[in-house]
Symmetry: C2
């Protein structure tokens, strides 16, 4: 997908239209330490990005297979009445694919931090649906955001493992999981009072 159509899908990384993250770079550094992100992990994340580049369609498909199998998850793509919003789902899908590469390849700086905050907000009633002008359910509960991370991390395993040795597979998967848990921590920010977060 080229830059223009990605932008059309509401992918606003680096856009002046999105707000600033309330999280400082110092706090981000502490979170990187908390997931035990190392220079080796950064190396393996880049490798993962190269490996996943032509597999993002299939990875998102594998994740969405789980969502589609469970009405209590699939409903967040649709309205209160259970009517699926295909256009919304398609736009989110494009961003989902781009996110895979961003997890692996984007440097974690202030711009990245701002976009993580935006992604976090877009799961909640504060910002969900807005960029897509969708009428889908307005809030993804935190418990499903957390629990579904298990699927995100598990279902990507074979895509990372393709043509890799068992050792490489484990290193690629470890780096991926750390990066995702780090983001999940950031995405939880809008759900929680500042003093609890």
């Amino acid at each position: 997908m080229n830059k223009e159509s990605l932008a059309a899908s509401g992918y606003d990384f680096g856009s002046p239209a999105i707000g600033r993250s309330p999280v400082s770079l110092e706090e981000l550094a502490l979170l990187e330490k908390t997931v035990a992100m190392t220079a080796q992990d950064e190396h393996w994340l880049k490798q993962a990005g190269a490996r996943l580049a032509d597999q993002t369609d299939a990875v998102v498909g594998a994740w969405r297979e789980v969502i589609a199998a469970h009405p209590h998850l699939a409903r967040y793509y649709g309205s209160c009445e259970g009517v699926a919003d295909a256009a919304y789902k398609a736009r989110v899908g494009e961003r989902f694919k781009q996110w895979i590469l961003d997890v692996c390849l984007r440097p974690r700086d202030a711009t990245w931090l701002d976009y993580q905050h935006e992604i976090g907000l877009r799961h909640t009633h504060l910002r969900k649906n807005q960029v897509d002008r969708a009428a889908a359910l307005p809030h993804i509960p935190l418990r499903y955001l957390i629990a579904f991370t298990a699927v995100i991390n598990e279902r990507i395993r074979p895509f990372l493992a393709k043509d890799a040795t068992p050792e490489e597979s484990a290193a690629l998967h470890a780096a991926w999981c750390k990066a995702v848990l780090l983001q999940l921590a950031l995405w939880s920010r809008p759900y929680v009072a500042e003093s609890e977060w």
Copy 2:
């Protein structure tokens, strides 16, 4: 560790002294679906429990190595003044070891759900330190609880992999990670308004 000394360490699984979980068994079933827990995973979790039974000391040691290396994490074992509370840390350590086996071997029923809720509360200012009468910092921020899950899931990998084939290792690790993310979702409950959770 025998039953009496575990009880002495504040391990209150099934105790009438702890409260009821606000989460229903129906909601638990949805969370199990959200992490994509399967009958195969249940099988591998039991296997993991057998494999980890005589390694819990070492696993907790591997986790705590990361905590000890980072003052922003180690401080939750100590006071506002940074004085470590060795007795508290020892008691938490015994529960931490038992938790490994509970993740793998406990059936997920109402009693289990109540204790997950208790564990969740014990990370927060609502219940942290109380059972241990400790004067340590009173609240673990949600962001560190989430982010440290990456360490929990990564550092246990070699212990699960001992004498296992690469396929067995991956299956054991997948089941473990799903079980932990499911618990993390439950532990997040006291941090969040009910309508957002």
